[in-house]
Symmetry: C2
Subunit: 221 residues, 2 copies
DNA sequence: GTCTATAGATAGATAGAC
DNA sequence: GTCTATCTATCTATAGAC
């Protein structure tokens, strides 16, 4: 009934499950990020794919599980970027700065991811909590930070009383806020935090801030 | 038809417009913060007040304008707190720390406000943009930061290349992230950022971070 | 100003043919 | 696996009596 070389026909209906799933995920990511979980419309997602609403239910089982799949993929992307990071050849100060810049760059390049995380927090992370995939997804970054902190402390360079999770929170907060809150911040204070002309300034500020905190002279106690 | 001393009857239907408006705003704040703009239900808000859905439309003109009114009041609260701040008797370092702690405390005490801001950012601050009240609402904090920064620079204590808006963003990002992203952060990294046992630790960390950044020794350029 | 009832639109989800 | 058609529930908003 179907020709043997069907997969080669690009553009035509290919009955490729993986491809259809991926296309739905792409469109759903944009739609959920744009309108929020409740604001997103399954009809709208279907209309923007080459498939139908029925297929979304067929592949994902519903709006809720579609959103969870979207989250899983979005977190997977940042975890991959983290795994590609190599700072073992750098001294602790340079390594921390490099790591902060990676987070800075990734957040800036993936505003949809930031929006999805904000939306998931409004829902108190219930989709993450119910996802085996996300629960098992560790954080390569945390291990890297741990190693850098240990090295920096051993050499006496780092004096701060903060562990890897604290430092990750500090770096993420600056990068996340700049992207996530740029609309209210811009509307209220008249400054565009993601203005390309100020990008280098904020990227440097982040690194300076983290390094200054880690290396500041502190009273003995 | 109504007795003269009607306002004294507490509990009974009082026909007090200001009181009814305030009650609707209270309930709407909780409901919008809980479920997001699209997730919130006008029926649900009405059911939790002593008035009816018809009155919400009567007083506010619709869901969208109700949300805007909720935002206006929430921002009003933090602006009032900022105006009560007095740091003129402190040296620049202590003043900055005091200011950071005020933001830290306010964010922690008003999680609903944080959620509303997150929600408004998902909607790209369209309600702030269309609100005269919010557009005119300046920020007392910015003026205070400006004065402290000028003083700190004059005395040679502060070396950082950041203005008041940058500093406000830095402080807010840490405080905001800790509350807004506590669910995803907790689910993924197993740490509760608002655990009371760690409250003092993070409050100190914030001040240390900002002061270290502002006073760090820098290469001449 | 306050109530009940309902209009009008649209959402998520599914049936059933092919 | 894919389509069209549709069910059922529910949402925002309003009409109209009092």
């Amino acid at each position: 009934m179907t020709s043997v070389d069907e997969p080669a026909r690009s553009g035509a209906r290919t009955r490729d499950a993986a491809r259809t799933r991926a296309e739905i995920l792409d469109v759903a990511t944009r739609e959920f990020a744009r309108a929020g979980y409740d604001g997103a419309r399954v009809d709208e997602i279907a209309a923007r794919t080459r498939t139908t609403k029925r297929m979304i239910y067929y592949y994902f089982g519903g709006k809720e599980r579609l959103f969870t799949a979207v989250l899983e993929r979005a977190y997977g992307v940042i975890r991959e970027a983290e795994q590609r990071l190599d700072v073992d050849h750098l001294d602790p100060v340079a390594a921390i700065r490099r790591l902060a810049e990676l987070t800075f760059d990734h957040h800036e390049e993936h505003p949809d991811f930031i929006r999805l995380v904000s939306i998931e927090n409004i829902h108190e992370a219930e989709h993450i909590a119910s996802s085996e995939t996300l629960a098992r997804m560790g954080s390569p970054t945390l291990d890297v930070i741990r190693r850098i902190l240990a090295e920096g402390r051993r050499s006496g360079l780092f004096t701060a009383d903060a562990d890897a999770v604290d430092l990750h929170a500090m770096i993420s907060s600056f990068c996340f806020f700049r992207v996530a809150n740029r609309h209210t911040f811009g509307a209220l204070f008249g400054r565009d935090l993601v203005d390309p002309a100020r990008r280098a300034h904020y990227r440097t500020m982040l690194g300076d801030m983290v390094i200054a905190y880690l290396t500041a002279e502190r009273a003995q106690d």
